[in-house]
């Protein structure tokens, strides 16, 4: 068992990347990037709520690692019926990831469950990369530093809501601005979004990720829904006469009003949210319904519908007057404390199918090279099981996908399946991150067009980490 120190990792990742740029898959991508004409770029975040189990997503495929993991979480393997030759966790059924710089893993092999076949396909064709063991950090740290209490640590490491917030906004719950919103702010500031309303778009709840100074999450309606103020537009409610038409016009104006003479702050906010919301929702819905629908069909799952909405919004990018957009979607159900086999497989299926449809839609729109899809999650999970489930962890493994991604690589690190490895906590094998969220997000921001000054302003601890370690784009 070899433990690299951090410096060695960085060197090796960099070398690995240099080698990979000469690979065929990378050459195949070069013309596509050059052909990018519109200057449009979009970041698409997928928040995997609950804490996706890194150990049950990027699976070990070599027998030694596979057996070691199985020994630490037999109940979880049982919940997948892993000994059944038809199981997705039966070792031979794990879909291999052909890691470009795999030599640095000393014979260890990796794969994904077949529910994530789309991920495997994108990885092996160079459109998707894995960023291993990424999580919130204030400085580099390992178990010894934690045990010696000499480490500077993020707050509330294992708490769902706080770690969701820390991933998206670099602080515990209550933090007001997310880095997605701040990226959009930078775009608005530099004139890249003539209509700031559509610079930050959510297809789900308006979480902190998209909250910026000027940028605010705009929630897009479900694809195909035709929005209206029923009382003001469905005539049978108030009648068919001229006076009813006049009343409806006044009602519509009342409903779309942004402000009244309230002094109470909550009332002022409530009325503004209502007025602005109704106005913008209807305006967007009218545009969306007038546009040509995408030929790509999305799965009718929560995430499928959300990514379908994102694709539709992208198809309106010209009309909406914006050349840079940050999108936010979310998928729940990853808090697999028990019955993990069924639960995580259903989630992975939804995730894989939605990603496949999204890639197809991007190719249809000609924007696959202009988007960068990335996952986030509360945290990874404990390697040691609790029966048929796993508990809250810290670091986890994530995906970055898009036509301009230098795919087929594992960036960062995936430590060995060995509780003695210094990047696991002293109990239960929770990963201590080797790549910080700030490093990871800064790489996304740099691709999006932010300069180092802007990035340093958003990510206060960035200087403590080596950004050259992440070359996924």
């Amino acid at each position: 068992m070899t433990f690299y120190n951090r410096r060695q990792f960085l060197t090796r990742s960099t070398l690995g990347f240099a080698g990979a740029t000469m690979g065929l898959s990378m050459l195949a991508h070069a013309p596509a990037r050059a052909a990018n004409t519109g200057g449009y770029k979009a970041l698409v975040g997928i928040m995997l709520k609950g804490g996706m189990d890194n150990n049950d997503t990027i699976l070990p495929r070599d027998s030694a690692s596979y057996d070691a993991l199985k020994a630490l979480r037999g109940g979880i393997f049982d919940s997948h019926n892993a000994d059944d030759p038809t199981s997705s966790r039966y070792r031979e059924n794990i879909l291999p990831l052909n890691v470009q710089d795999g030599v640095r893993f000393n014979g260890r092999q990796f794969g994904v469950p077949r529910e994530l076949a789309a991920v495997q396909e994108m990885f092996n064709t160079g459109d998707l990369a894995v960023v291993g063991n990424v999580g919130p950090l204030l400085d580099t740290v390992d178990r010894d530093a934690i045990e010696a209490q000499s480490a500077l640590l993020p707050k509330r490491i294992f708490s769902h809501n706080d770690q969701q917030s820390t991933w998206m906004a670099l602080g515990t719950e209550g933090t007001r601005r997310g880095w997605g919103g701040q990226f959009a702010d930078a775009v608005i500031q530099s004139g890249g979004a003539p209509n700031p309303l559509y610079a930050a778009i959510t297809a789900t709840s308006p979480d902190v990720f998209l909250a910026g100074q000027r940028a605010q999450p705009f929630r897009i309606p479900k694809v195909g829904s035709r929005l209206r103020i029923d009382g003001a537009e469905r005539k049978w409610h108030l009648g068919y006469s001229d006076d009813a038409d006049a009343a409806r016009a006044k009602l519509a104006a009342f409903m779309r009003r942004e402000s009244f003479d309230h002094t109470n702050l909550f009332r002022r906010d409530a009325v503004k949210k209502s007025g602005v919301g109704i106005e913008n929702q209807i305006a967007y819905s009218e545009r969306a319904n007038a546009a040509m629908p995408l030929a790509t069909e999305f799965p009718s799952t929560g995430l499928g519908r959300q990514l379908g909405g994102v694709a539709q919004a992208m198809s309106l990018r010209g009309e909406l007057g914006t050349s840079r957009q940050v999108f936010y979607t979310a998928q729940g159900g990853y808090d697999t404390h028990d019955s993990q086999g069924g639960a995580i497989s259903a989630r992975h299926t939804e995730l894989g199918d939605a990603l496949a449809a999204f890639k197809a839609a991007m190719i249809e729109l000609g924007t696959w090279d202009d988007v960068l899809v990335f996952t986030m999650s509360d945290f990874g999970r404990s390697m040691v099981g609790n029966g048929d489930g796993s508990d809250h962890g810290w670091g986890g493994h994530h995906f970055v996908a898009g036509g301009s991604v230098r795919g087929g690589h594992i960036y960062g690190d995936i430590p060995e399946v060995d509780l003695a490895h210094p990047q696991y906590t002293k109990e239960r094998g929770r990963l201590i991150p080797t790549t910080s969220v700030e490093q990871h997000a800064a790489a996304l921001g740099s691709w999006f067009g932010l300069d180092s000054g802007e990035l340093n302003a958003i990510f206060p601890n960035l200087s403590r980490f080596d950004r050259s370690a992440l070359g996924f784009v």
Binding site: D230, F254, F260
Partner: protein
């Protein structure tokens, strides 16, 4: 009731009143302490005949306001019946009212079947819309948003949720320590937070106990993450209340619980185990020493004793009172309560006692008393005073807003089972964006510390949990949902039976738009619409003409138009 606002004239009046209070009977002498204040200025007012307290509901506006704070609003008759009474007396009557529960009703509906479809959820909705014990129902709903389970995890296990909601209903005016024990042994929480059939650790295989309940019990159901002052503010430096070693220690406590039956084994559970408390099986309970929050439970302590000791330790933590008090205040009266208000409520909760201005005493005297807590919340001077600060008030939950509408207009024929829209009211785009006991996670529909981005309240640092479920889609969805009930269900009750409103009083006023709006203003917003808003509403309503040949329909249209606007008003969305 407003004479206690801090004005010289009021203080003088108080001084006069105290004389009559001391000899007047009915009141109690302990109110004198709170009534003390500077005198001087103004002309001494003659003492009124009867003792007055700020909790007196003197006007229809005050009565309507109190019903909005404490219950789900009310009909004109209910508002009238409170005028001239003391709010403390209403609370006292509500504490005595028979509890509307669900488990026995479920048994009656499903004497033998275990699969209950979604019927229990509909029963809960029905109770929110119709039950007479409104304060207990409101309390149950509030507690369900702190001690969260979601029936998404129990599709058709109506007895599981019935057993759980009855725990909340039973203890709604009871004791925290007793309630958290019943919750801990409930099949609902056991399954929701996955400690049901949680086994002790196993050194050979490395298996460790599930940490889920240990973590959320501390983070969400008792003490929270940081040490608090009694007023709910974090202590200096925000010291954390526990670390991961505490979780690992406490997780061992919640091992060995399974469904009732002869053994821990799944196959040995009684067929109706979901209807009974979980049972402890010591052979699957961790025999190890369990250390957390500075307490150590010795090795080989039984499971039941371990849980007892753990819950005693947790319930004794000084954070419990401020942590729960602030959240419960948010559910009733204030989205961003002042630290002083939190402290007053937390003190009552800890003392187990609250004395109303009129001398009524609430609570058992035991620490952790919910009756004392709710009386302290609803009878606090800050929610009865006249002052309307820019940062007061509470953004109302969509469920509470709908219940207010339903009760204010005494909807006839409420059969939730026949009302498909109420199978699931969670969709914000065409329904309410909220369904009772169906939040997306254990973190409830919204978080107590939520600051809404890019709002004036958020920039001022005012928490507003309910704004977390207000967005572009939900405001239109809510309006359209309400429009359906206001129009379709009133136009043709025979053709569209169910949830049919009684607009008789409003139709009678419809010839005079100003009078109609004034009337609805009291009933729905406690008279708090601004003059400009009322003027615009009256102008819009008057646009609809009343034709001689179809006057009744035209009057109904006016009422409906007024209500659609009312439902989108800031004063209906935010109670003060």
């Amino acid at each position: 009731m407003r004479f206690l606002s801090v004005k010289p004239i009021a203080a003088t009046l108080m001084a006069g009143l105290m004389l009559s209070a001391c000899g007047g009977g009915g009141g109690s002498s302990n109110s004198s302490a709170s009534l003390g204040g500077p005198t001087g200025g103004g002309t001494p007012a003659p003492a009124p005949a009867a003792t007055k307290f700020y909790t007196d509901l003197e006007t229809r506006e005050e009565a309507a306001r109190f019903l909005i704070q404490a219950g789900f609003g009310g009909t004109d008759a209910e508002i009238d019946s409170l005028v001239g009474t003391d709010a403390a007396n209403w609370i006292a009557a509500q504490l005595r009212a028979p509890a509307t529960k669900t488990f026995d009703a479920m048994l009656a509906a499903y004497p033998t079947r275990q699969d209950t479809d979604r019927e229990h959820s509909k029963m809960l909705w029905t109770n929110l819309l119709t039950a007479d014990d409104v304060l207990r129902q409101r309390m149950m709903f509030a507690l369900s948003q702190v001690f969260v389970i979601s029936d998404n995890d129990f599709f058709d296990e109506g007895f599981t949720t019935a057993q759980y909601t009855d725990i909340l209903t039973d203890h709604a005016f009871g004791n925290y320590r007793e309630m958290i024990e019943d919750i801990t042994y409930s099949p609902a929480m056991g399954q929701y937070l996955t400690y049901y059939r949680n086994r002790k650790g196993d050194e050979r295989s490395g298996r460790m106990p599930d940490e889920n309940y240990a973590r959320e019990l501390l983070q969400l159901f008792s003490i929270g993450l940081v040490e608090l002052n009694q007023d709910g503010t974090p202590k200096a430096g925000s010291p954390e209340t526990y670390d991961n070693d505490d979780i690992i220690g406490l997780a061992k406590v919640f091992t060995g619980l399974s469904g009732s039956g002869p053994s821990f084994r799944w196959s040995d559970q009684d067929e109706d185990w979901r209807r009974k408390p979980l049972q402890m099986f010591d052979d699957e309970h961790s025999p190890l020493e369990k250390t957390f929050l500075g307490t150590t439970i010795p090795a080989d302590t039984t499971g039941v004793n371990s849980i007892d000791m753990a819950l005693d330790t947790i319930a004794d933590h000084p954070n419990v009172a401020p942590f729960l008090s602030r959240q419960m205040i948010q559910r009733f009266t204030s989205s961003s309560p002042s630290p002083e208000y939190v402290r007053r409520v937390a003190d009552a909760f800890d003392a187990g006692s609250f004395t109303a201005p009129n001398g009524r005493v609430f609570g058992s005297g035991q620490k952790g008393d919910f009756a004392a807590m709710i009386a302290a919340i609803l009878l606090d001077e800050s929610v009865h005073d006249d002052v309307q600060e820019a940062n007061e008030g509470k953004l109302r939950e969509p469920i509470v807003k709908f219940a207010h509408y339903a009760r204010a207009f005494d909807l006839a024929d409420i059969d939730v089972s026949a009302e498909w829209r109420f199978n699931d009211t969670s969709n914000p785009n065409d329904k309410l964006g909220q369904h009772p006991l169906r939040s997306p996670s254990v973190f409830n529909f919204y978080r107590p510390g939520y600051l809404s981005p890019a709002t004036e309240s958020g920039e001022a640092g005012l928490t507003a949990p309910e704004f977390q479920i207000v967005n572009e889609g939900s405001v239109l969805g809510f309006s359209n949902f309400m429009t359906h009930y206001i129009t379709v269900r009133a136009d043709d009750p025979a053709g569209n039976p169910g949830f049919n409103p009684d607009f008789a009083a409003e139709i009678a006023l419809a010839n005079d738009p100003q009078a109609l709006i004034d009337h609805l203003d009291v009933k729905l917003t406690a008279g708090q619409l601004s003059d400009a808003t009322k003027a615009e509403m009256a102008d819009t309503v008057s646009t609809l003409l009343i034709a001689a040949d179809d006057a009744e329909t035209d009057r109904l249209d006016r009422v409906q138009l007024a209500l659609i606007m009312m439902m989108s008003s800031g004063a209906f969305a935010v109670q003060i």
